[in-house]
């Protein structure tokens, strides 16, 4: 646990100093939300719940992949990953530390995005909005696991920044479908029973990609 | 003969795409073989020069 805490603190401290990843995430999220408002011209309120939920998830996947690339570029510049890889640390531990850091960044970005969503889509800070927290949280976990695993790949390539969304978005499709549906139902005030099936898919996705990261991260980051 | 154009289009596309892929593979394969042959010849020449050189140095 000590090593995990140290690794996580290192990532978060680096981020606090530069703030690049979170700022990229927030900036892109706002831009995507604005673009969607222009594109669909929503009236707001409950009847645009589906558009609002969709906008939020689109902002998450595109801002999230950009953020992950940004974090990796920073990592490569200061040579941190290389130093960590020569250390005798467990690779699985490294995965969970990186994933948690990624999770924190995306969660901060999404919180800001939700506040802006409420303004743009004329929503209220009420129980419906709170009900959206669970699918969002589940989606962020899966997305963080996925991008952490894939950023290990894309970070080494010249075209990595381009490639990461191309690899990540199709893999994320099931969580995207389930997440958008569950969020839209939550915003529309549907009962919990209707949303349950989507939560199951989100949980299955999270379990799949967290365990895949745990088992395969070693093969991804090992050099040579 | 209703919908015959659709049937024709579907099967033409299948065979055209498969044929294009085969042609593409064959040409790539031929190019690869040529480059291997050229590289082998070049390596043989280089090896010869490397092997001959100490003798040249000794004689001069």
């Amino acid at each position: 646990m000590g090593a995990f805490g140290a690794l996580l603190r290192k990532d978060l401290r680096l981020e606090l100093r530069a703030g690049e990843t979170v700022l990229t995430l927030i900036g892109l999220s706002i831009l995507i939300l604005v673009a969607i408002v222009f594109a669909f011209n929503p009236v707001g309120g409950a009847q645009d719940a589906a558009t609002a939920a969709g906008a939020l998830w689109v902002a998450m996947i595109f801002a999230g992949t950009a953020g992950a690339t940004q974090a990796l570029a920073a990592e490569r510049e200061n040579g941190c990953l290389r130093a960590l890889l020569v250390s005798p640390l467990d690779r699985a531990l490294l995965f969970f530390a990186k994933m948690t850091a990624d999770l924190v960044f995306i969660a901060v970005g999404q919180t800001v995005a939700v506040i802006i969503l409420v303004l743009f889509f004329n929503l209220d800070f009420d129980r419906r909005l709170a009900a959206m927290a669970l699918p969002l949280a589940l989606g962020i976990i899966g997305f963080a696991a996925l991008t952490t695993l894939l950023a290990g790949i894309a970070g080494r390539l010249r075209a990595g920044a381009l490639l990461l969304p191309l690899l990540a978005v199709p893999l994320f499709v099931p969580a995207l479908i389930a997440g958008v549906k569950a969020s839209a139902l939550a915003l529309a005030g549907a009962p919990l029973a209707d949303r349950l099936i989507w939560f199951k898919i989100l949980v299955a996705f999270d379990v799949l990609f967290t365990s895949a990261g745990y088992m395969l991260f070693e093969s991804v980051v090992t050099e040579g | 003969m209703e919908h015959f154009p659709y049937l024709l289009a579907a099967y033409s596309i299948i065979f055209v795409l498969i044929a294009l892929y085969v042609i593409f593979l064959q040409s790539r394969q031929a190019r690869l073989r040529n480059r291997i042959r050229a590289a082998e010849a070049r390596l043989a020449r280089l090896d010869e020069t490397v092997a001959r050189r100490p003798r040249d140095a000794a004689s001069s």
Partner: protein, 234 residues
């Protein structure tokens, strides 16, 4: 020996393919409800079977490559991804052409179509990854991981897409259940088509794997040339 075997294999593939074409166009009876256009179905299903088998091979090759570290498994995975992509493209195109007269539209977000499209994007990403990077062992491992993760994701994709479509109001009433192959000749035609495309898959895989071996050999040769040149310099 290997050479005569490959010639025999090609001969068999061509023969099977010609038989399948003959059966589809001249032998099998028309389907009662959909008529002539239903004949697309035989090669469409064969393409789909080959594409999915190839994508499964990408994951199998990846697992064995990570486990045993032998290049031949990586070559298998790469070759399978490329071949699978070709047949997946054919599935999407022939499906569209069949859907137009039957469903009245080129594309619907039906669960099978959507799943196939997502698969197409997944393995397109895989091929881009391989095309944009140097053929190093590390990239091979990355690709193996992606291939395995993608295959593991497929069941979740299928379930989520199916739920998404059934809970959503369907624009067009799909008639997936109407492939009733009531005539035994239809079943035989389908089986021969499947065999022909499986043979085609094996042929493409061996061809592509041989090329990857050659590319590897060329790389070694170039490295040796560079070494010999460096030796000449000093």
């Amino acid at each position: 020996m290997a050479r005569s075997l490959s010639v025999l294999g090609r001969l068999l593939t061509v023969l099977l393919m010609l038989t399948a074409i003959f059966m589809v166009f001249a032998w099998v009876p028309n389907e009662a409800e959909q008529g002539l256009v239903q004949r697309i179905f035989y090669f469409h299903v064969a393409c789909a079977w080959v594409a999915f088998a190839a994508f499964a091979l990408v994951a199998v090759g990846g697992i064995f490559f990570l486990w045993l570290g032998q290049t031949v498994f990586d070559d298998l995975a790469y070759a399978a991804a490329e071949t699978g992509m070709l047949f997946c493209t054919l599935v999407l195109i022939t499906g569209s052409i069949w859907a137009k007269p039957i469903w009245g539209t080129w594309w619907t977000w039906d669960s099978r179509l959507t799943t196939t499209l997502i698969l197409w994007m997944l393995y397109g990403g895989y091929l881009l990854l391989r095309a944009l990077s140097e053929p190093t062992p590390q990239i091979a491992r990355f690709a193996a991981v992606f291939g395995i993760v993608a295959a593991a994701d497929v069941p979740v994709i299928i379930v989520s897409v199916r739920l998404w479509r059934t809970i959503h109001p369907a624009v067009i009433v799909t008639r997936e259940g109407t492939h009733g192959l009531e005539d035994p000749r239809m079943v035989i035609t389908l089986l021969v088509s499947l065999a022909a495309f499986t043979a085609l898959l094996v042929w493409f895989l061996t061809l592509r794997m041989a090329m990857l071996r050659d590319a590897d050999r060329l790389q070694t040769l170039m490295r040796n040339i560079a070494l010999a040149e460096a030796a000449l310099e000093d």
